[in-house]
C-alpha cells in the first residue's frame, strides 16, 4: 500500500513501507490551526496532506483517570516543565491536537491588544476589524456559543454570583461545543461528542473535501531548494512509544507548519536553522502563567457536574488578568491540596464542597526560548517569570479570594508557599495582597504558549509576515500560536484559528 487516496485517513497499523506523496500543500500538525488550514485549502480546491504525529482517539480510547489520560494524550506524558522558573506546560499529541483535551474556550483577542500588535510590531492588517470575518467563519462552522445556563453547574454559577456581588463583569464562556451535557470531562476527551474538537469537526470536513490525513507520522525535517520549501520528510512512529520506522516524504508547493509554538521552532532548527535570518526562531517565548485557588463552601458544590470551564471575568483584562472557573479530573484537582497524611485526607473530603477558579496573566516581560534537545524533537523550554510580573499573579490571587468569599466560601486554599494553607476570611486572605511573594512561592501552570516564531512587519525582527509566510521563504508558512507577536491576554485558540483561516485563503491564492 504505497498511495493514499483523497479523503483517506492513514493510521499506524496500515503503514507497511516507505511512503512518498505529492500535494499542493502539506500541513504539519492537526490541532486547531492545522485543521482549519487543511479544510480551507481543500475547500479552495487544493490537494492537501495533513500530517499528525499522534493517533486518532475515539471515545472508547479515552482514559478517565487523569494521570493515565495525560500520559497517553500529552507529549512527555503531560510532565513537561519549563526550566528557569519551573512551571508545568502541556502539549497534546493526538489527531485534533489540543482541541481534544482543552476546555473549548473561545475568546476573540481584545481590540486594544490587536491594535497594540499592529503598532508595536509594524502590522497593518491585523486589527479586530480585519480578523472579525475569520472569527465569524469559524464560529459558524463550530457553533461557537455561550455556555448554556442549564449545564453551568453550581461551580460556575457561584463564580458568577461572587462577581455580581462585587460588581465585576462576568459572562458565560463562549465555547466550540454543541449539546454540552456538563460532564466536566473536557480534559480527558468529551464522551458526549459535544465538544467540536478538530477530530470530529474540521478534519472530517477536510477529508470530505479530499484531504489526505496521515496519523502517527513525525515530521523531522523541512525540505528546501534555495528560498523555497519543497516538502517535508519524517518517519512513522508507534503510538505512545514514538518508535520510528518507515520513512514518509511529502513533496508540496507550499508547507504549512502548525505543529505548535514549541514544536515548530524545533523543526526549523533541526532543518538547518531555517527561516532564521532574523535570529528570532525560538526566541520571545511567552506564556499566560496561571494561578488558581480552591474554595470550600458550606454546602455541596457537586463540582464534577457542569461545564469544565463555563464562566469567566474579563473585568481586569486591561490590568493583565483574566479570571475563569476550572475543573479537572479529580486526581489532578487533588494534587493542589496541601499537606500529607490524615490532614490531606480530610482536605480531600472537602472536594465535593469545593470549586476551583483560576487567573491567567499577561506577562509580557517574562520571556524565554525554545531549543531542540540533542537527538530528539522534544523542546527544551527556558523561561523566567520576571519579578515585575509576580505582582500581577498575586493580584489575581487576591481578586479570586475576594470573589470566593463574596460567593459564600467558608475557606480558601491558596496553595502559596509562605501563606497559611487555609484561609478562613477575607481578613486572613489579605496576606495574599500584602505579603511580598516570589515566583517560587506560587504554584504556576502555563498552557497557552506564544511568540516563538513571531510575526513582525520588519523581517529583521520577526520570522513571519502577517499572512504567516516566513520572511525568508516564499512558500513556507507558520500557522500556530508561535506567530503571535505578544500574548493575547485571553485564551488563544479562536484567534490562532482566525489567523490560520486568513493564511489559508492567502496560500490558496498564491499557489
Amino acid at each position: 500500500m504505497s498511495s493514499v487516496e483523497p479523503g483517506e485517513v492513514r493510521v499506524f497499523a496500515q503503514y507497511d513501507r516507505d511512503l512518498t506523496l505529492e500535494a499542493d500543500v502539506v500541513v504539519v500538525g492537526s490541532g486547531p490551526t492545522g485543521a482549519v488550514a487543511a479544510k480551507e485549502l481543500t475547500d479552495a480546491g487544493k490537494s492537501v496532506v495533513l500530517v499528525e504525529e499522534g493517533p486518532p482517539f475515539v471515545p472508547t480510547e479515552y482514559e478517565l483517570d487523569g494521570g493515565l489520560s495525560m500520559a497517553r494524550t500529552m507529549r512527555e506524558g503531560g510532565l513537561r516543565t519549563t526550566r528557569g522558573t519551573i512551571m508545568p506546560t502541556m502539549q497534546a499529541i493526538a489527531l485534533g491536537g489540543g482541541s481534544l483535551v482543552n476546555s473549548a474556550i473561545c475568546n476573540r483577542a481584545p481590540a486594544f491588544i490587536l491594535d497594540r500588535w499592529c503598532t508595536d510590531f509594524e502590522l497593518e492588517r491585523t486589527t479586530r476589524a480585519d480578523l472579525d470575518p475569520h472569527y465569524e467563519a469559524i464560529a459558524k462552522f463550530l457553533g461557537i456559543a455561550p455556555t448554556p445556563e442549564n449545564v453551568l453547574g453550581r461551580r460556575n454559577l457561584l463564580f458568577r454570583d461572587g462577581c455580581n456581588a462585587l460588581g465585576y463583569d462576568s459572562e458565560p464562556i463562549l465555547r466550540n461545543v454543541r449539546g454540552c451535557r456538563g460532564s466536566g470531562e473536557c480534559f480527558t476527551g468529551c464522551r458526549s461528542r459535544a465538544k467540536q474538537s478538530m477530530d470530529i469537526s474540521y478534519i472530517p470536513a477536510a477529508l470530505r473535501g479530499g484531504a489526505r490525513v496521515l496519523t502517527s507520522v513525525r515530521i523531522e525535517r523541512i525540505l528546501t531548494e534555495g528560498w523555497r520549501a519543497t516538502g517535508v520528510v519524517g518517519r512513522v512512529v508507534t503510538p505512545f512509544a514514538g518508535k520510528p520506522s518507515h520513512q514518509v516524504r511529502i513533496h508540496a508547493k507550499a508547507v504549512v507548519l502548525a505543529a505548535g509554538c514549541t514544536a515548530t521552532p524545533v523543526l526549523l532548527q533541526k532543518s538547518g536553522n531555517l527561516a532564521n535570518r532574523s535570529g528570532q526562531v525560538g526566541e520571545n517565548l511567552q506564556f499566560h502563567p496561571g494561578v488558581a485557588i480552591m474554595g470550600i463552601f458550606p454546602d455541596p458544590v457537586y463540582p464534577r457536574f457542569g461545564a469544565t470551564q463555563g464562566y469567566q471575568s474579563c473585568h481586569f483584562l486591561r490590568d493583565g488578568l483574566k479570571l475563569e472557573t476550572l475543573w479537572a479530573p479529580p486526581a489532578i484537582t487533588a494534587v493542589r491540596l496541601p499537606g500529607s497524611g490524615m490532614a490531606l485526607k480530610n482536605r480531600l473530603a472537602d472536594i465535593p464542597y469545593s470549586a476551583i477558579w483560576d487567573g491567567i496573566a499577561t506577562c509580557n516581560r517574562s520571556l524565554g526560548r525554545v531549543r531542540a534537545r540533542r537527538r530528539s524533537l522534544d523542546p527544551i523550554l527556558s523561561w523566567k517569570l520576571h519579578p515585575a510580573d509576580v505582582p500581577v499573579l498575586t493580584h489575581a490571587l487576591w481578586i479570586l479570594a475576594q470573589i470566593f468569599f463574596a460567593a459564600g466560601a467558608r475557606t480558601i486554599v491558596p496553595g502559596v508557599h509562605g501563606i497559611a494553607p487555609e484561609l478562613h476570611s477575607l481578613k486572613e486572605a489579605e496576606a495574599l495582597r500584602d505579603r511580598p511573594l516570589r515566583a517560587t512561592d506560587l504554584v504556576l501552570a502555563g498552557n497557552h504558549v506564544f511568540c516563538t516564531t513571531r510575526m513582525h512587519g520588519d523581517p529583521r525582527l520577526g520570522v513571519v509576515d502577517e499572512m504567516g509566510c516566513c520572511h525568508d521563504f516564499e512558500n513556507l508558512y507558520i500557522a500556530d500560536t508561535g506567530i503571535f507577536p505578544q500574548c493575547p491576554s485571553v485564551n488563544p485558540m479562536w484567534t490562532a484559528m482566525a489567523l490560520a483561516h486568513r493564511s489559508a485563503h492567502h496560500i490558496a491564492q498564491q499557489i
Binding site: 497499523a13 487523569g66 494521570g67 449539546g179 487533588a334 494534587v335
Partner: protein, 213 residues
C-alpha cells in the same frame, strides 16, 4: 586508608540501596523491589487508613498504578520517575527526620517518621525540595484517585455516558487497529447530543460502580 573508607562507603551504599527490602506481594514490571517498597510506604504515609475516605493508600495498590503509568510514559519520564523515587527514599540521608533512625531509608522508617519526612519536603525553604514533594504527591494522588472506591466515596466517580456515533467514528479505528475493524457504516450514525444535563444520580461508568455484594 582512603581505599578502606571507599570500600566501607560502597558496602553501605549497596546495602542501603539493594539489601533488606521485603518481597513484594507480586512482581511489578518496571519497578525494582526497593521501589515497590518505597511506593507502598509512601502511599501508607500519604493516605493512612481511616478518616473520611475508607480506602488507604495501601488499599489503592499504588505500585500497580505506577507500573501502568511507567508503561505508558516515555523513556525520559520513566527515568525522572525512578530518580524521584530514589531521591525521596534516600533523601533521609541529607534531610533526616528528628529522632532515632531519622537517617534510615524512607521505606524503613515508621509511619510517623515518614509523615515527618514528607512534611520536611513539603515545607522546606528550598524550592527544589518543595517541587520534589509536589511531584511525588502528584503521582501518588493520581494513583490513589484511580482506585474506584476513593472517587466513589467522594461522589466523584464518572457516570456512564452513551457516546453518540458521529462521522468521525466511521473514520478512525481504535489505536493499533486497521480501518476494517471499525465495523460501522453511515446507517449506524446516531443523533448528536441534545444537551440534556447529566443526572447527578445516574449510573456510574463501568469499573467505577459498586461491585455486587
Amino acid at each position: 586508608m582512603v581505599t578502606a573508607l571507599w570500600a566501607i562507603f560502597l558496602c553501605y551504599a549497596v546495602s542501603r540501596v539493594a539489601i533488606g527490602y521485603p518481597d513484594p506481594r507480586r512482581q511489578h514490571r518496571g519497578l525494582a523491589r526497593g521501589e515497590v517498597a518505597f511506593i507502598s510506604s509512601a502511599a501508607e504515609a500519604m493516605y493512612p487508613a481511616g478518616g473520611p475516605i475508607p480506602s488507604s493508600g495501601l488499599d489503592a495498590d499504588l505500585p500497580g498504578y505506577l507500573e501502568r503509568l511507567l508503561a505508558a510514559s516515555h523513556l525520559h519520564i520513566r527515568i525522572l520517575l525512578h530518580l524521584l523515587f530514589f531521591l525521596v527514599e534516600h533523601g533521609t540521608l541529607l534531610f533526616p527526620t528528628s529522632g532515632r533512625g531519622g537517617m534510615r531509608r524512607f521505606s524503613s522508617q515508621d509511619v510517623e517518621h515518614r509523615v515527618a519526612a514528607l512534611d520536611g519536603w513539603a515545607e522546606s525553604r528550598l524550592f527544589f525540595r518543595r517541587v520534589v514533594f509536589t511531584s511525588i504527591r502528584a503521582v501518588l494522588t493520581m494513583g490513589y484517585f484511580a482506585h474506584p472506591p476513593v472517587v466513589r466515596s467522594l461522589g466523584l466517580a464518572p457516570l456512564a455516558i452513551d457516546s453518540p456515533i458521529c462521522e468521525a467514528d466511521l473514520l478512525y479505528p481504535r489505536i493499533g487497529e486497521r480501518p476494517e475493524s471499525i465495523g460501522m457504516t453511515a446507517a449506524d450514525l446516531t443523533a448528536p447530543s441534545e444537551g440534556i444535563p447529566l443526572p447527578q444520580d445516574g449510573p456510574l461508568y463501568p469499573g467505577f460502580a459498586e461491585p455486587p455484594p
